[in-house]
Amino acid sequence: MRYSVFRILEQGLTGNRGWKPVWREPDPKPEYDILVIGGGGHGLSTAYYLATVHGQTNVAVLEKGWLGSGNVGRNTTIIRSNYLLPGNQPFYEFSMQLWEGLEQELNFNAMISQRGIINLFHSDAQRDAAVRRGNAMVLSGADAVILDQDVLRKKCPFLDFDNARFPVLGGLWQPRGGTARHDAVAWGYARGADRRGVDILQNCEVIGFDIRNGACHGVATTRGAIRAKKVAVCVAGSSGQVMELAGLRLPIESHVLQAFVSEGLKPVIPGVITYGAGHFYISQSDKGGLVFGGDIDGYNTYAQRGNLPVVENVCEGGMALMPMIGRARLLRMWGGVVDMSMDGSAFIDRTLIDGLFFNGGWCYGGFKATPASGYCYAHLIATGASHPVAAEMRLDRFASGALVDERGAGAQPNLH
């Protein structure tokens, strides 16, 4: 069923009784060409692009819970392509280009809102780094603008310019950055994949791999065994657990990232703003909630909840940066398990086991990557070759030393 304003009028006048289910709820078939493990944003977009770009429709997406129940359903919705390194920036810019026009392609409004993202800087060294990054962005075809303090005062008068411990000197602005309605992205991809014949199997948890003489032939699930020519894992925070079932160790740790939303408020935050002297970033949803977050708790965990010190740390950053939010009330705080890699960058790669592919290590930044991650993963699965913009997202980069370490923090996941 195609969505449009006319459809809404028609349905409205007929008591909204004619809406069709957005996706089927099929039973697993005994065999598929390709299994995508993980019904989150990346898994669903992978299935979508397998179907649309590569004509692969004998595909199933296996989700252990409900569709979109992973990080795509609990992130802070930011989309941006303001990375630094050649191993990352072209990929994220490609992702940004896919975001632009995604809703029309999916016929699903994901409220993609390009109201800009500003990374503030507070010292000369930070400005130098911002300039270096901004130029890398422009080299990759992205947009980047260095804002000085005067311009910022006009754009964001609510920032603490005059009584700050770490004065705001300026910011790196990407006008095309912004936010998207995270759940809708998952639903849109799911609907798109489903319409093209992809089976989305909810409540279907993988409990084992069928690996014989170095090749993967399928999986065992809570809904029975399923054979497949290719199996593509895409499970973010659960990467360690799932790949362990295949006997593989990963350069990944699972950590919890907390996120926060305030009560609904009339618009007050222009776009996305990131603090450079503390752990705090914020945007405002179309519904009016201030959506913000900060740093991960910093210890290995699979519990989707964090602790108070980080909550305080994040709010300290917020109050230091924009003390006008003090009287806004924090409505809800939650945690998501993120797959922190050893250099802070992701993997889209094949594994040592034939027919078994891996996509993960997105740290706390996976949402913005959703379109390109699925596109490039589908490309790798279908063609067997890495997509050019994802060529450096290899699992063997730690052996070669070709790291993609944006922060220069080294092999310490909780510092990335």
Partner: protein
Amino acid sequence: MTGLERLPGGLVDRNRCIAFTFDGHPYLGFPGDTLASALLANGVRMVGRSFKYHRPRGVFSAGSEEPNALVQLRRGAYREPNTRATVAELFDGLDATSQNYCGSLRFDLLAVNDLLASFLGAGFYYKTFMWPQALWERLYEPVIRASAGPGRLSGDTDPDVYDRGYLHCDLLVIGSGPAGLAAALVAGRSGARTILVDEDFVMGGRLHAETHEIDGQPGGAWAGSVVAELGALENVRLLSRTTVIGAYDHGIYGAVERKTDHLPDSKGKPRQILWRVHSRRAILCAGAIERPIAFGANDRPGVMLAGAVRTYANRYAVAPGKRVGVFTNNDDGWRTAVDLAAKGVEIAAVIDTREMAPPVDVTSVEVRMGGRITTTWGRKGLKAITLATGEKIAMDCLAVSGGWNPAVHLTCHQRGRPIWRDDIAAFVPGTGLPVGMAVAGSVNGSLSCGAALREGHDAASAIMQDLGIGLAKDALPAASDESVAVMPFWRVTESRGRAWVDLQNDVTVKDIQQAHHEGYRSVELLKRYTTLGMATDQGKTANVVALAILAEHGGRSIGDIGTTIFRPPYTPVSIAVFAGRSRGKAFRPTRLTPSHVWAEGRGGTFVEASGWLRARWYPVSGETHWRQSVDREVRLTRSGVGICDVSTLGKIDIQGEDSGTFLNKVYANGFAKLPVGRVRYGLMLREDGFVYDDGTTARLGKTHFVMTTTTANDGLVFRNLEFARQCLWPGLDVHLASATEQWAQFSVAGPRSRDLLAKIVDPPFDLANDAFPLMACGTVTVCGGAPGRLFRISFSGELGYEIAVPSRYGVSFMAALMTAGEDFDAVPYGVEALGVMRLEKGHVAGNELNGQSTAKMLNLERMISRKKDCIGNVLSQRPAMNRQDGLAMMGFRPLDRSVELTAGAHFLAMDAEDRMAADEGYMTSVAHSPELGYSIGLGFIMRGPERVGETVRAWDAVNGKDIPVEIVPPHFVDPQGNRLRG
């Protein structure tokens, strides 16, 4: 009707009246009122508009679960949006306004949404606003955002102050109803360190809202006497106006105490305090929250929860209506009729969905057993209701009870899942409670007063025994076990019109049905698609009704569907309180150098550097631009002598027989053979082989070294050294002590530095070049006996020293150095000049040591001794880190000497396109070199060493620059190093 005409009884203080305003109209109330009770007492029924359809709404509940009565309190920077009138204490001059309308509360233009409701059903916005694409940003989204809300921030800095603190206790009792009071009484009398917390401003919970009797006295009176006893106990702390917002790991609870929200003005006192409560045990006595029944037009002002209506009558002596009806599926609802009738309020009718004999005999009251309300009447306030039978009954207030939901929220904060109990048709705490938490009373599904007392008493007794705290024997208070029988009834199927489930977000029964039909069947998907339970009340009254409707359609049981996940905070909390005092300048501590006071006196400007404030430059009269000051400081240092406070560099005292061996392991280059009295530059790698830090380390004695680190890495290096010492090589005799704060250290640099120091360092110490050559160090006395340490090292490239004295002499010593330097025109220089000189000399600093650099990139790979093991040695040999065509640090100067270079520019071949593939590296640092008279830079570029003399573009698009630069060796000044050896 004025707010002063009240029913008999209640907890309001009639001796004084309080004047307040709502939407500008003056009203009167009493101390002890909430804004909601006072408004009801004044006959104000419509207090707000719903979020989506802008429907008129009135007070619905009497507690923090309120979905409707959201108002804006106070004015200007003190404005406080989305405040629940039901928990806002009345104070003199309280100034409240309604919110979320366009026009006025009574005439809201956006009420047009209500007429378009059939086009604005669940998730409609996911299905439209997509064409044309361009219109989304320009038209659709701005319109949608304009209707965001409901409340509005002032946009000004929050003028209030907030605080945080820590509490420790044996037992934390959450909630002061019958269960909580009974529990606290046991713990308190046992001598346990006890904290009793309640979100209300009066302790006692529903004992003040009901007419129970305990030990022969009214429940409220009993509560008062218990609170008085507890208040007198040394070991008990009572925190009212305090909400426990979250249950965190290992018995830590977050609690927010509202200190001044009930006062006209906080007068500089903390408005709120965030308490981190460290508890050995906790008992949750959070009670239960009543739920409504879904039926047509059940959202009109005047439709309220039955328990709330009782609360207003019994506690606030307010009759929410002149003619009150009751709609219930349980016995508890009947008590509303009984209590109000007893206070002389006219009861229109009691409509009970159950087909049975009336559980209570209320004479002279119309009763409709098996009755169902299909719709209600009254545009801006309830006027009448219609039953399925077609009978229409006039009333201005309808008290609805669909049963009670235990407030299990805190039991789920660590992923505990509640379980469904058919006998009370409600979720009760299930498995996975926070460790150390017990539950008692209504929250445990024991809804009667007597059961609550019993459970609170027993739970506390058990915990006292567990903790081995002497138990004071005391009798269990006696109270009635009133009937709470309930027959599940969720929605009136005969209702044709919209029946509300989530009042604030305008989610109706139809929306839930549609979402389910469209495939959003998981309760989590339902919530996300319809926004059910996502409003400021987090669905406290709505969620279970929605689950029931979902269950009905999915043919599943409510228990199987389960709830959505409860998350902190229990009720919304101001963001500011989480930050406490860490705001503004106090956001983080400020570190001052030992000579800071001197530098202030000298008029220095300061700059933040890793937590320190460092002198940046010292302007003198006539200088109008910072460059003039910096250039002068550099010139005078290079021509005479300059002095700079470098105390911020990390200093780590390393002692022990194996100190040399230890340094060999933590530094890439060798130190074991460093002679006593000598200094060596050290390069420190991470275990992954990348450069971590650098600095000089001096050997003061056979078993004594002093390591210096960069300012930024002081603490980090110390931590890593402790790791190496304790975890990697625990057999070494080596001990660490931070000496960063102990020593005030100054760089004395320039051709006249030796002459200056000759006047400072006490004889007979010999400063002559051969006696104290480059890289020498020694212990000295200065200025007539003060202890000092002298190092012949130079960051500037000039003849230079660093000299250290105990920090207490810092200011005095800086002055002494300046006095001694007068004859040589000594100049104090700041970090800018320091940076210029290090760059002229080609020394690396933070911008080059950014964690992404290898030793090879810095042309330092020869420093990694392959003869010995050291942290990072092995992995530094990985192929990609040693590519011949990799980046290397070089110097750069503009072909046109008049232009200024910029750091962050990328290097592109002269003829290359502006594409990432053409990227050859980037400029790390730039400065204007007074020595050379033009702008110079350091940067990383591919195959640097082989490209000396080549011209590339320093491409800086974000600054609109594209500058041809020549690649040169990174040493601009005195490359042979003759000066520093001089």
